[in-house]
């Protein structure tokens, strides 16, 4: 008795507890089939992506040494932006999830990897893998819901400060990596309740400081200096590449859990959750992006957010392959597989941010639901 939906159109009202466990078993079977088949082809894939990223990054930076010359600026900036996106999305995010740990290659491992990002890998792994993936879309538990600064669910109480949230979201998009670092530190909460005096917090803050210094030194001092007369134009180029990477990853990540059709859950709803119910929450709490193979790689296969949330540790190149099986399961059990092209999903997520900056009438959501097999009534 866990997943609680207060909506009148409870999307799981038609499922029995038994159905949910069968769904869990079927998903386990999909996972087992991939693991049994995982091997050389997958290892070749990630190594090829890493090689491509490194070659692209170093050649783009070489081209930018001559960034005074406008075509060099454009080519170098575009290349560097793509390299940074690949580093963060298809490579960093997925390696830090442990998707490639099975290769036993200490150079491509969740415990040794670091990424081109101001949030240290250790801290990101905690807030992302441990909290977000475990408490996906549970209001009050999953800080990814609005990142602690926005209201993205009708059930979050409104406050006048949220009027500015379209603006905060825009600023967050432009400087997303800093937003993530602050979020991983739980900076706002720690500043407010005095947690910033805690030695553990201070150590983590220092680690972020070190990472920021190294990133800034590389992108905004050393690389421009190496460019000699092109100092300023290279500075502008690396700034632009970081901006593009930030806006891109922000857009992709907004599409994962904010668009229309994605469900949220109550804190109490996950007490004593079974494996099947956990899977069900991931199924309903995530949204995909449809598009080309290139788009999937550039999103780090987070365009298969549903598959990723079901199986966060399967190699990312496999999500596309299992998607038809997962979708068939949704169809068979009458569940909504939320997906759409990138512009539509981004617009949908932004519309939610704008809409919920204003107070909504909560009454329509407070109506008692029709009794359904899985809905417990005491906590709504």
């Amino acid at each position: 008795m866990t997943v609680i939906q207060k909506k009148s159109d409870n999307p799981i009202a038609h499922l029995s507890a038994e159905d949910i466990e069968i769904i869990g078993k079927e998903l386990d079977a999909i996972r087992d089939r991939v693991i049994a088949d995982r091997g050389e082809r997958d290892a070749r894939y990630i190594r090829r992506v890493i090689k491509t990223q490194r070659t692209l990054e170093i050649s783009s930076r070489a081209v930018l040494l001559f960034s005074l010359f406008p075509p060099a600026w454009i080519v170098g900036t575009a290349g560097l932006a793509v390299a940074k996106i690949l580093d963060n999305m298809e490579i960093g995010h997925n390696i830090l999830h442990g998707q490639w740990d099975w290769m036993r290659d200490p150079k491509i491992h969740s415990t040794t990897w670091d990424w081109d990002h101001v949030s240290p890998a250790e801290q990101w792994k905690h807030s992302h893998n441990e909290l977000h993936h475990r408490y996906t879309n549970v209001v009050g538990k999953d800080n990814d819901l609005g990142y602690g600064i926005m209201r993205v669910d009708e059930d979050q109480p409104w406050h006048p400060a949220y009027l500015g949230q379209p603006f905060y979201n825009f600023v967050n998009a432009c400087f997303f990596e800093y937003g993530i670092a602050a979020y991983d530190l739980e900076l706002g909460k720690n500043l407010k309740d005095g947690g910033h005096k805690d030695p553990a917090f201070r150590a983590r803050a220092r680690a972020v400081g070190r990472k920021i210094r190294r990133q800034v030194l590389k992108d905004y001092v050393l690389h421009p200096l190496l460019s000699g007369p092109s100092f300023l134009s290279t500075l502008a180029a690396t700034f632009t590449a970081n901006l593009i990477r930030n806006v891109w990853s922000h857009s992709v990540i907004m599409c994962g859990h904010f668009p229309n059709g994605v469900e949220t859950f109550e804190k109490t709803s996950i007490e004593g959750e079974t494996r099947g119910e956990w899977y069900l929450r991931q199924m309903l709490g995530s949204a995909n992006i449809s598009g080309s193979r290139l788009l999937h790689i550039m999103t780090g296969n987070l365009s298969y957010q549903i598959e990723h949330h079901l199986f966060p540790d399967l190699p990312s190149n496999r999500y596309q392959e299992i998607a038809p099986q997962v979708r068939a399961l949704f169809d068979r059990y009458g569940l909504r597989y939320t997906t759409g092209p990138l512009p539509k999903q981004v617009a949908s997520a932004w519309w939610k941010v704008i809409r919920l900056s204003l107070p909504n009438r909560r009454s329509d959501r407070r109506q008692p639901v029709a009794p359904a097999p899985l809905v417990s009534s005491g906590t709504a």
């Binding site: 996972r31 290892a43 490194r54 290659d105 040794t112 190294r214 050393l222 540790d313």
Partner: protein
Amino acid sequence: MTTTAPRRPQKVTFRDRLSRLAGAVTTPLLPGDYLDLVAPLRAGAPLRGRIVAVRPETRDAATVVIQPGRSWQGHQPGQYVRLGVDVDGVRQWRAYSVTSTPGAADGLISVTVKAIPDGKVSNHLVRRVRPGTIVQLDQAQGDFVVPEASPERVLFLTAGSGITPVMGMLRAGLHVRADVVLVHSAPTRDDVIFGPELRALAETGALRLVERHTDTAGLLGVDELAGLVPDHLDREAWACGPVGMLDAVEGYWASHGLADRLHTERFRPTVISPGEGGTVTFTGSGVTVEADGSTPILDAGEQAGVLMPSGCRMGICFGCVVPLREGAVRDLRNGDLTTAVPGDGVLVQTCVSAAAGTCDIEL
């Protein structure tokens, strides 16, 4: 891929400054990560090798010729090298005797591998690996070597691929310095690895070769040695072969009070036989617990007061991974077994792994 540079107390050289600067430019990667793309065998890189040829020796053995990286420090005849080979995408480490001559002019080294039934790595190396493949290497190690001042009379007792370290010694010219008798067992004449080369040496009188073809003549018993090599106990002896043979030989030499004249090489010192549950030792904290086959190692460790890293406790976040130094664990989600022998350093998720036999966890 950590960015932390090792702290050095000595004076900072120009080279150090340069590499620190290069590190600041490539952060969070290391300059070496880029150099690896073009020069994986360069000096200063983690030791690797490139396979340049695979030559069949018998129906189930092959010699793998490797160009070692620039940091290779050479070997002594009889020593082995640990090879890290990616099989089905998973890195597996195994030790093989070096069979080439030290300091060969072409700079190449070779190991000779016999495919054992169900042997993941040996079958891969004998039958599937292609020239051009990069493998991970360790420096040569092992004390199965003949000392610089070699004894006058030497006896080698070998079986199967146990001939490989001895071949390394013979190729280095041991038979020129000493009187050598080699007693070697293999199922048939054609199964004798390096058969033609050994027979050629025997024909020229460089050594005395006793071949035992066990398919027809049965296994060699230690009691037969006196008949085959009357002065066997007066010789300095080196034995390499299956565990059963080594146990018998060691017992025999010990019973004559001559254990110090016998040197053995055990290639597969531990055989992991997975079961349900087992004794888990946390090697760093010195804690040992009995864990059943359904208790996650994380829980078992925590109950015993070990400071275990942990995270989601459901197999998602990889916050709890620790190295399994030796032993076997079973994934509680799907029953998959992961085994490790020393040196593998396999990392396991303790929250979803239970002991499947005796386990040494490095923590």
